[in-house]
Point group: C2
Amino acid sequence: MSDGPVSDDKPPKKERMRFVSAEQVAQLAGVSRSAVSRTFTPGASVAPATREKVLRAAQELGYQVNDLARGVLANQSRLVGIVATKPEVGFRAHLASALAKFLIQRGSIPILINTGQTEEELLAAQKMLIGHRAEAIIILSGSPPASFFELAQRNGQPLIVIGRSEPDADHVRAGNSEASRKAATVLFESGRRRLAVAGSNSGTPSIIERESAFLTTAEALGAEVSIGRGADSDYESGITAGRVLFSKQVHPDAVFCANDQIAFGLMDYVRQEVKLRIPQDVAIIGFDDVPEASWLSYQLTSFRQDPLVMAMRAVELMERRLENPDLPRAYERVIPELVIRQSFRP
Amino acid sequence: MSDGPVSDDKPPKKERMRFVSAEQVAQLAGVSRSAVSRTFTPGASVAPATREKVLRAAQELGYQVNDLARGVLANQSRLVGIVATKPEVGFRAHLASALAKFLIQRGSIPILINTGQTEEELLAAQKMLIGHRAEAIIILSGSPPASFFELAQRNGQPLIVIGRSEPDADHVRAGNSEASRKAATVLFESGRRRLAVAGSNSGTPSIIERESAFLTTAEALGAEVSIGRGADSDYESGITAGRVLFSKQVHPDAVFCANDQIAFGLMDYVRQEVKLRIPQDVAIIGFDDVPEASWLSYQLTSFRQDPLVMAMRAVELMERRLENPDLPRAYERVIPELVIRQSFRP
DNA sequence: CGTGATGTCGCACAGCCGTGCAATTATTCG
DNA sequence: CGAATAATTGCACGGCTGTGCGACATCACG
């Protein structure tokens, strides 16, 4: 076992292709590295001539300041994590996109962590983000355990939660209860008495809030209420809910869907399988008002949540927290507005 | 800690909340910083007892290795840029999500750059990514100028383009021409003679390819072909295309849509405004096969592009290029498969 | 021409980390 | 028990950058 070429095996040193460094620019420009650094630091003192030489050399070489090293020094990475499950679907997709846009606008770098909902995955994502010294984490979904908040706290990493009330972190969310109460009220006032809500078993906090606020309000008004749930708050879930709600002899005459995706599934099921007309036989109200809600096939009356507004608020909360980490917890609540379309008119 | 001078005038230093550093862990564990470093470096030589002490201290403080600094040292940031316009919409959303997932799986950090299509915005995005020493850039949309490729090249930053044939970069794309030819052929063979294609003026390369391949094939077969275009390859665009195509006395009896979003708009317009039946009066074929294509309202026959497959191929190309930067340009072509649903059956 | 007052520049250090190297232990073995 | 071997550890350096500080050049002005 003690043999083999004693000659050095150093070639596999895996010498990564190097980026252009400030040193190289300095050399080409015939100045010190400090001059290069100062040229790219606003407010630093550099002679115009030197500055010119440096810029020319930088242009020549395609130099760009190494923000990583700059970050190590200044202790700020400009990275911000966006944590979401299924960031390609529905409202979350719009939210994630808007967040990315705003973060870029303010000079931050959005990292998209596409993760599952399990605690282990969330914790792994957090480790990654702490490892890369992300300045803040914005969470769109999933229910982090207590250790998550503790670790973020200890590393001075602001945590912003969107769409869920979270006592241990700044959060921005929609007025789910208000909207759901309003949904029950307007449906009741329009004369419907056999109300229903279509939700899911996914355990998403906002979905749960909407379900329960609608249920209690409808019952308080004296309406009959039934509930249908699918597995995952998506289109399929809407179909499943429809199957549950419309399997009995007596059909609901109005369904409040916990989000638009569910509403689309339910509408399709109701029209195509149960052969009912919307809104004559069944009125439908959705939640989120994603662009698809205005498609001709759906014309869905829905509570508008503006992803731009929510993303903006989240970024504001983040900036506030970065500015002063010791402020008390804050949260923003955005009240959804009911957008009236064909699927239900009060 | 014993601090004598209470008269410190250092407050305005804007002292960022610090992450836990290896030094602190070393101090708490009563070892040198090297020991901490070695504990977190696989294969390094550390005594089990020391290792234990370090791990305990790290746990206690919530320490996580600073990947930024590690990256500065090793010259690899693990960051990968995903550049896309409107990453919340349609196929691109699925692609971006799948990319993020695969990149995370291989230990990379996906940065989502949500940018416009203008050259300036693209170049700004590239500067950001070079500044942060991203290891690679994956481009989902937009048409970068030549300087873009040159700069990436000079900084040794692999560039992967998805959805467009790009001679200056590795790319993965769908077999747009093959699929579009097949669309024309199957429609013709089913007896339709008044063919049409719904596209857009957005200038997206894949859309253009699909339009033109369909046009030439249909003409070659001896069919009548008309073309309708909207502004932006989205749902609205489909409605606009429908208005154009169905404004004359003689209607097309089959429409090939350059993507599913356009198809949805066109189908809605055709059914609700022109009062035609699909597929009896008009057959429709889409492209992408996004989940909405299987919704009951649409049942759209479409060419399936699997975002998981395309994302996987892109990541493979990236890895290949990182492994060996000097390889010749490579590209992957994924041939879309026609998924038959109600909107057209051969 | 002398002299402050500027304005620039380079040096050296700080801020993280991994790692080669030599010094210090611990362990083995005759 | 002593020597030889192995394992571990700390030091110092390297890889990037920003910046305080002293050294130098420039300049206005008396």
